[in-house]
């Protein structure tokens, strides 16, 4: 379970995915919106990174940007994305297409709508395999059966000729996972993979995804708003707020010792699996719309501990206790001021 990052003495592994200062822009009549604003993180080979945040925090947009599938008129407005050290954010459409599915697999939220209803699941797996690997039709079909078996579809050899509508949601998501892994990518971006599923199936699918990726050493970028899934599945977690990275660190530390006031609020508003009956708190207010992100820290209007610099400047990611936090409270220069303010009974 330990990520390489957790061990200080680990040999430094070069990350499979590096995102730095990523900006996604949507030009509108009322100016340019930034659903993703200078977000940076790394994913090591075989690591599972969780991305959490409320709806509209920019989680999915991050994923879309990485695979080059931002809907027009959106565009990458800045920053760099590198896969295994090679920049991919400036690739041509055609070269990017060869990376999608081959090096980066994706799993989407709604499995029933992810598959073409008019093609058998076998056809869809075979075409994916043959798009990326130079194998014969027969070999591709053999691999497709193997892939279905691997994701736990019973009687795969028969089910391969079934249509998507003949599968349940959970089974469909297994097929989607098989598709995402078909060409053995090094990274899977799973965008809310269990949100559309029955609660009883969610855990199975997450376990399956985790088992398969661990087995192959595939890294996963898991986008979700489900803290339970984060706690159970991920090695590290990044918290997004209004398109900006608020906090990132090892899952255990972010969950049990969060530093950013937003993460703290998020944790105290989530029931703990171990805890008894306690009243959950909630963060007052709502995430600002992209149209009116406040000056300075985006969380400042809702933050109980905000002080002068929070309203002026955008905080940058800096190491705090055990995580990296974008918050002025942890800035050495301002830390004293903040402490003084809190000492004088500021609420």
């Amino acid at each position: 379970m330990l990520s390489t990052r957790n061990c200080d003495n680990a040999v430094s592994v070069s990350p499979i995915l590096t995102v730095s200062d990523l900006i996604v822009e949507f030009p509108t009549r009322k100016g340019i919106l930034r659903p993703v604003d200078r977000v940076g993180f790394e994913i090591d080979p075989g690591e599972i990174l969780g991305i959490v945040g409320e709806s509209g925090a920019g989680k999915s947009m991050c994923g879309s940007a990485i695979v080059g599938l931002i809907d027009r008129p959106g565009r990458i407005g800045g920053g760099e994305i590198s896969l295994s050290g090679q920049r991919i954010d400036n690739l041509s459409n055609d070269r990017m297409r060869r990376i999608r599915g081959k090096k980066i697999g994706m799993v989407f939220q709604d499995p029933l709508r992810s598959l073409d209803p008019l093609k058998t699941v076998g056809d869809q797996i075979v075409e994916t395999i043959r798009t990326h690997l130079p194998v014969s039709a027969a070999e591709a079909r053999r691999r497709a059966v193997a892939a279905l078996e691997e994701v736990g579809i019973p009687a795969a050899a028969n089910r391969i000729d079934a249509w998507p509508h003949q599968f349940s949601g959970g089974m469909c998501q297994r097929v989607v996972i098989a598709l995402a892994l078909a060409a053995e990518p090094a990274l899977i971006i799973a965008d809310e993979p269990t949100t559309a599923l029955d609660v009883s199936v969610q855990a199975q699918i997450m376990a399956l995804l985790k088992r398969l990726c661990r087995g192959r050493g595939t890294a996963v970028m898991l986008i979700t708003h489900d803290m339970g899934v984060i706690a159970e599945t991920t090695d590290r977690v990044a918290v997004l707020y209004a398109g900006r990275l608020a906090e990132i660190g090892p899952t255990r530390d972010v969950l049990s010792n969060p530093s950013h006031p937003y993460t703290i609020g998020l944790m105290t508003s989530t029931p703990k699996p171990t805890g008894g009956i306690e009243r959950l708190s909630q963060i007052s207010g709502a995430m600002p719309s992209l149209r009116d992100i406040p000056k300075g820290c985006a969380f400042s209007p809702r933050c109980g501990r905000a002080f002068a610099p929070c309203y002026r400047n955008i905080p940058v990611l800096e190491p705090a206790a055990r995580t990296e936090v974008a918050c002025w409270l942890y800035d050495e220069e301002y830390a004293k001021d903040a402490a003084n303010l809190e000492g004088t009974g500021h609420d």
Binding site: R98, R100, G101, R113, D116, E127, T131, W163
Partner: protein, 329 residues
């Protein structure tokens, strides 16, 4: 699926019975058959005798059954005007209408689907905008105007194509067809374009909007994420999903190409059943009108039946293990 087909054929039969009844009632309610036969001088007793002899006093159901038996026997009556069996007249004229409808149908579907796909994929190109603008003309101008315009442009001014008539015909599979001779084919071009233009633009606009809708679907996004080529996405996935709703409309449109060939045939003096019908109206030739109605009704029902069966070939969700019924949208 078998149950569905049987049920569907049952429905078709009911519709045909209703169409037949309308055809039948044309004899009863349009004009007075006794007067037509006896003239105005006839006495009341003559009328009563003839009515009895012709069975006009029997209950409607009996008369209708008798009519149906007669029609099923292939006896559609004698044309008042030509004095020939209606069935024979129609059979003589039908190939002309069918080949015209066939060519316009091929044009409408071929060009409509091709342009529809092109404009759906290239959303804002110059060519797309040009096609879309021209297609507005196709949907908004009435058929006869387009026909007259085409005659003016290509027959009168450019003198490329004949302005009217069917040209020479050749024998093909036992039918006299114009399409198999060069001169006949040339005479067919203008009427076929006129007849098919509306359907062509309709199909094109339908394909375009349906395909744009499909291209926004999740499974297309997922297909992109799987790294499939644009070509595979557009043609292997998007197009097939586009076709399901398109087939319904196209089927109905093909029916109406045959049914509404009347105007085009009149403009181009094309000797098909449409022209026959128009002439029949001016002479109140009820047996011909009634038979035409029956024919068009049958063609519509038949095409609808084929369209419904086509769904099974395309959409697996309607197959034996899927839900039944065609309304899934």
């Amino acid at each position: 699926m078998l149950a569905f087909i049987i049920r569907r054929i049952g429905q078709a039969l009911v519709v045909l019975l209703a169409v037949g009844f309308v055809s039948f009632s044309m004899f009863k309610f349009m004009g007075d058959p006794l007067e037509n036969l006896l003239g105005q001088e006839a006495t009341m007793s003559d009328r009563a005798e003839l009515a009895e002899r012709l069975g006009l006093n029997d209950p409607i159901v009996v008369q209708y059954t008798r009519y149906l038996t007669r029609v099923l026997d292939g006896n559609l009556g004698i044309s008042y005007r030509a004095g020939l069996p209606v069935g024979k007249i129609i059979l003589e004229r039908l190939p002309a209408t069918l080949e015209l409808a066939f060519l316009s149908g091929v044009l409408a579907i071929g060009v409509g689907i091709t342009f529809g796909i092109y404009t759906a994929i290239h959303r804002d190109g110059i060519i797309t905008n040009a096609i879309m603008t021209i297609s507005l003309i196709g949907v908004s101008l009435p058929t006869f105007l387009i026909g007259v315009f085409l005659i003016w442009a290509f027959a009168v001014n450019l003198d490329w194509l004949p302005a009217f008539g069917r040209g020479p015909t050749g024998n093909f599979l036992g039918m006299e067809l114009a399409i198999v001779t060069w001169g006949g084919f040339k005479s067919m071009i203008l009427p076929a374009v006129t007849l098919g233009l509306y359907q062509m633009t309709l199909i094109m606009r339908l394909v375009r909007s349906e395909m744009q809708e499909v291209l926004r679907a999740d499974f297309i996004r997922f297909a992109r994420a799987r790294g499939l080529s644009e070509r595979a996405i557009n043609f292997r996935h998007a197009l097939k999903n586009t076709l399901v709703p398109v087939i319904t409309v196209t089927g109905l449109q093909l029916g109406s190409i045959i049914a509404f060939a009347i105007i085009t045939e009149t403009v181009f003096q094309w000797p098909g059943v449409g022209l026959l019908f128009i002439n029949a109206i001016s002479f109140v030739d009820i047996p011909v009108m009634s038979a035409y109605l029956l024919l068009v009704g049958t063609i519509f029902v038949f095409i609808n039946l084929i369209v419904d069966l086509l769904y099974f070939g395309i959409d697996p969700r309607l197959g034996p293990t899927g839900g039944e019924g065609r309304h899934r949208a």
